[in-house]
Each structure stands twice: as C-alpha cells, then as structure tokens.
C-alpha cells in the first residue's frame, strides 16, 4: 500500500508571535518551527499502517527551504521519501491554491491512501484534506481517529461533536483528515535520523506543477483580538496573587 502524508511546517506552539511591520502576517525572524501537530498524528497513522500491511509512506509538504527540517524529521520517524513543493510565498496562496499544489504533486504518485492533519495550528483553515480529495476526485472522511484496512477499502472512526463517534466505510483510494490523539506519537531513533540523511527528498516548483497562485480569499490584515471581558489581573508574588484571588472567590464570586 502506498500512503501519502501531506504535512505542514508551522511556528512552534509556545513561540511568541508578533505581528509584522506591515500588519499583514507575523514576524518570522527568530521564529522556531515544528511539524503541525495534527499532521504528526497523520504521519503516525501512516507509519502504523505501513508496519501492519507493508508498503511505502511518502511525505509531501509545501513551503520554503526551512520546511526541509520537518521533512527530515518525518523521514527519521520512518517515512520512505518526500516531495517538497518549493514555495517561498506560501502566504500568497489561499486554501484552494495550496490544495491545488498538493493535488498536482500527489496525483502522479497514485497512492492508495492520502492522510493529512485536520487543520494547521497557524492558519487553521481545516480544509486542505477535504479540498485535496475533491480535486483528485476521491472520497474522503474528516476528523478521523482510527483507520482499519478492509478487503474493500477502509473502515475509519470519525469524531463527531460532544463526545460522539461514527464509523465510516470508504473504498480505495481515499483521503482522510486525521484528528489529534488517536495514537501515541513516536520519537525518531538515532538509527532513523542517520537513515533519513540518505532518503530521497524531491523538490518541485509550482511552475513545474503548472499551478499559479491566484488567491480568491486574501488575508489583508492581522490584528490583536479584542478582549471579550475586561480581565482583572491579580499581580504580585505567587502568594500575594493567590491571596488576592481567594478574596475574590470568597466575596465576589462567592464560591468559598
């Protein structure tokens, strides 16, 4: 079975983000990047399926050269090879444009299964996988926690709202967007890191894929959110702040 995992590199979760001088995106200098967390779960699901059923795991990712570090991480964890879509101006592409890039890169691979995280931690569009399926003419299921292969295709566990789940059956090939938490994530082993250095990372450009950025939804301005409530910050040492909070809980919230 050939599995393609579409991944994205995003700013680290704990990174302090600042709006850039133009007010159009975040200041990318000194920013640390990591593999988008839901994509890490998609990769894990792919690696486990490969271990069970054999086959190949191909990672595809769009972005500038720095994306190479998260690609190497995926290869070190056990992916077999990778395709990087060389794109310095990912911000100039909308969700449909990025899905078109990925579709063009993935199509010649003819995979049996395409996995991706359900959303990215930075832009959070939550639609790349679903649009990718549409562009490739494949069936899809979203918010998936568990994948099982059957004779006819796949049986997957889909998360619904408020603690409900559902089983969905799909034929092969299919696209699944993976929800966090379905599996335990693995670490790369030293041997894996060593092996990753010799694995193939093919680089293609949007022009080679025949796709142009023609954004319809354009991010014009980035701002700080307005507070919904005026938060009273209790300052001082930990002890002072704790004492001040207990006063509030006792006399204003009246729960003590």
């Amino acid at each position: 079975m050939k599995i393609v995992v579409a991944t994205k590199q995003v700013p680290e979760r704990d990174a302090l983000v600042r709006i850039d001088a133009a007010g159009k995106w975040i200041d990318e200098s000194d920013l640390q990047y990591a593999l988008n967390e839901p994509d890490a779960y998609a990769l894990e699901e792919a690696l486990q399926l490969k271990e069970k059923h054999g086959g190949e795991v191909v990672v595809v990712s769009a972005g500038p050269e720095r994306v190479g570090s998260t690609i190497r991480e995926a290869l070190a964890k056990g992916a077999d090879r990778a395709i990087r879509i060389d794109c310095d101006d990912l911000g100039a592409w909308d969700s449909l444009g990025v899905a078109r890039l990925l579709a063009a890169a993935v199509k010649p691979e003819n995979p049996d299964l395409i996995l991706t995280g359900l959303q990215s931690d930075d832009l959070g569009y939550g639609q790349t996988g679903v649009v990718l399926a549409e562009l490739l003419g494949l069936p899809h299921a979203s918010l998936i926690l568990h994948v099982e292969m059957t004779d006819a295709g796949f049986t997957v566990k889909r998360e619904l709202e408020e603690g409900w789940f559902q089983t969905v059956e799909l034929p092969t090939p299919a696209v699944l967007t993976i929800q966090s938490g379905g599996n335990k994530l693995r670490y790369a082993t030293l041997m894996g890191i060593k092996r990753a250095k010799t694995k193939e990372v093919r680089c293609v450009t949007p022009a080679e894929l025949g796709i142009e950025a023609a954004p319809i939804a354009v991010l014009e301005r980035v701002t700080l959110p307005q507070k919904q409530k005026s938060t009273q910050i209790l300052s001082g040492s930990a002890k002072e702040a704790a004492a001040a909070l207990v006063e509030k809980l006792k006399f204003e919230v009246r729960v003590l």
Binding site: D94, Q166, I216, A217
Partner: protein, 323 residues
C-alpha cells in the same frame, strides 16, 4: 445572482442554535449589501425545519430534498448543494461552522472554484471577514476577490441567534439529481466513546488543566487544588489525548460543554475548541505564564505567572480560607 444563502443544519429534529446565528449573520450581511437573504434545508424530508425558518425575515426557504440525503454524506450534500447553487448563482453562501460543515463545505466550494473562508467571527464593512489565526492569539481580516460566490462559515457564538428578525418567507422545494453510485462512503450509526460517568455539565466548580502542566506527574498538583475547592477536575484536549486524564474529563467542542459558577483554567492557552466548551461559565479565572494567551480574553480574573508556584500557593490559601 440571487443574494445571500444560509445553509441550515438540523439538531435533534430542529434547527440548531448555530444555524440561527448563521441566519443572523446573513441578515446582517443582507443589510450591509442590500441583497436578499435566503435559506436552504437539506435532507430527505425537511418540511418542519423549513417551516421553522420561514418564520424569519427571509426571501425564500428552499427545501433541498432527496431520499439519498436522509443520512448525511459529504458526497450527497456537496452534490445537492452544488446543483442548487449552480441554478441560483448566489453572491454569498453562509454555513454554521459545525463538524459536518467542515466535512463537506470546502469540497462544495471547490466544485464551484472557490475557497471557503472558515470559522468567521465577524463580518465588517467591505465586507471584511475576521477569523482567528495562531490558535486564537491573532485575528486575520480576509477579503474575497473575484465574482464567484463567496463561501464562508460562522463560528458558534459569534453572531446572536436572538438578533434574527422575524418575518414570513416563501417555501419552495429543490430536487437534486443524485445516483446511489455517486455516494462513495457508507456512514454508520453514532456511538458514544465510553460510558460518561463524570457529568461536568452539572458541576458548579471546575478546575481545568492544560498543556502548561507539562508532565503527567504534575497532575496531582492541580488535583489538590480541585479537592481543596471541592471542584471537579477537567482538562483541555491535549491532556486527554496524552492519556494523562480520561477522555470523559475533557472540556471543549469534542468533549463536554460546561457552565459552572467558577471555571479555573490552569495552564490552558484557550484555543477556540476549548473556549466553546466553557465560555458559558459565570466566572472564569485563568492562571497562565503567557499574558497574551487567548484564555485571558474570556477571563474575569487572571494571574500571569508560573503555575508551579501559583497553584500550590492557591491551594494553601483556599485551605486556610475554608478553616
């Protein structure tokens, strides 16, 4: 072009609250643009839903009906609405941002050559669509270029369901052409993950823990605070994903929705998926080291500091106050 269309979603046999909010967004956009506002219900038999919606100030309510739409599938819903919107040529299509909409609306939009502007929290003049970036830490203002229909979905709670204007809409029926073979997936019945033995929904005091706790060995620190307060212990998704606390203690869009008198969030940054589960709390207290964490946007009281210092101090202070 036929103005604004709002696609409604059913919850327990009635129009769900977030769909009323989507109508409110549609009516606001209608007032801004001077376009007429319509709604669509999708299913095998949607007469009661359409009747509910027809009592609002809408031009038309379209019942998009086909036996193959009785059970939700992304293929069925995309196909049916694609046919409706090719016929109606809308200017704007609005969805409630539900799990179901996330599953099919991006594919539907792509069929019409459009991206979906998802999870919108405000629609300003222009129109400029505001949606959250970086897990709620920043807002982004989006504009839609070109003349194709503009698809967007609205976040739960962003528009006021009470703000919908009443009226009387004409009800019509649209019958899409769908062949059984076009539905490629087979959905099963809904089921619960595990028996819910913890009912956080009725708890009056909740102490909730997030990523900031760093290690499962540190959970007892927060448990002690909960015990001192007489509160239930809850958690954000990553804590339950890691198996540090059972899934039944998870608060948020995929877990339980709570509305206690006190919600004390420890080391929770406040991603929207978490906020939707607890923003009905009467009083929110946040303890977090990052002063820009979105949890402070909904907090009444905040302590900016190291939870490993603040929580033990707070446990001691609560114990002393209770003696």
């Amino acid at each position: 072009m036929s103005g604004v269309w709002v696609v409604l979603e059913e919850r327990e046999g009635r129009i769900g609250r977030i769909s009323w909010e989507a109508i409110a967004a549609g009516q606001q956009l209608g007032a801004q643009t001077g376009l007429q506002v319509n709604a669509a219900t999708v299913g095998a038999q949607t007469e009661p839903l359409a009747a509910e919606a027809a009592a609002k100030a809408l031009a038309r309510v379209m019942r998009v009906e086909h036996p193959l739409l009785a059970v939700y599938t992304a293929d069925g819903f995309s196909l049916a609405l694609e046919q409706l919107f090719r016929a109606e040529q809308p200017d704007y299509v609005i969805f409630p941002h539900t799990y179901r909409v996330r599953d099919y609306a991006p594919a539907l939009a792509a069929r019409l050559g459009q991206p979906l502007i998802g999870d919108v929290v405000a629609v300003g003049e222009g129109p400029v669509f505001t949606r959250q970036l970086m897990q709620g830490r920043l807002n982004g203002g989006y504009r839609h270029l070109g003349d194709g229909p503009c698809f967007f979905s609205v976040q739960a709670g962003a528009f006021r369901a009470e703000a919908t204007e009443t009226g009387k809409a004409e009800v019509a029926t649209f019958t899409p052409v769908i062949e059984p073979a076009q539905i490629r997936t087979r959905p099963g019945e809904r089921f619960r993950g595990s028996a819910q033995t913890v009912d956080l929904g009725s708890a009056s005091l909740i102490v909730s823990v997030g990523r900031g706790i760093k290690d499962p060995e540190n959970i007892p620190l927060v448990q002690e605070l909960a015990t001192a307060l007489g509160a239930e212990l809850a958690a954000s998704r990553p804590i339950c994903d890691n198996g540090w606390l059972p899934l039944e203690r998870q608060v948020g869009s995929s877990g339980q929705t709570v509305s206690p008198k006190l919600y004390l969030a420890v080391g929770i940054s406040g991603a929207i998926q978490h906020l939707v589960g607890m923003k009905g709390s009467q009083c929110v207290v946040a303890i977090n080291k990052d002063p820009d964490a979105p949890i402070f946007e909904v907090a009444d009281y905040g302590i900016v500091g190291d939870l490993f210092e603040v929580v033990p101090a707070l446990t001691d202070a609560v114990k002393a106050a209770k003696q």
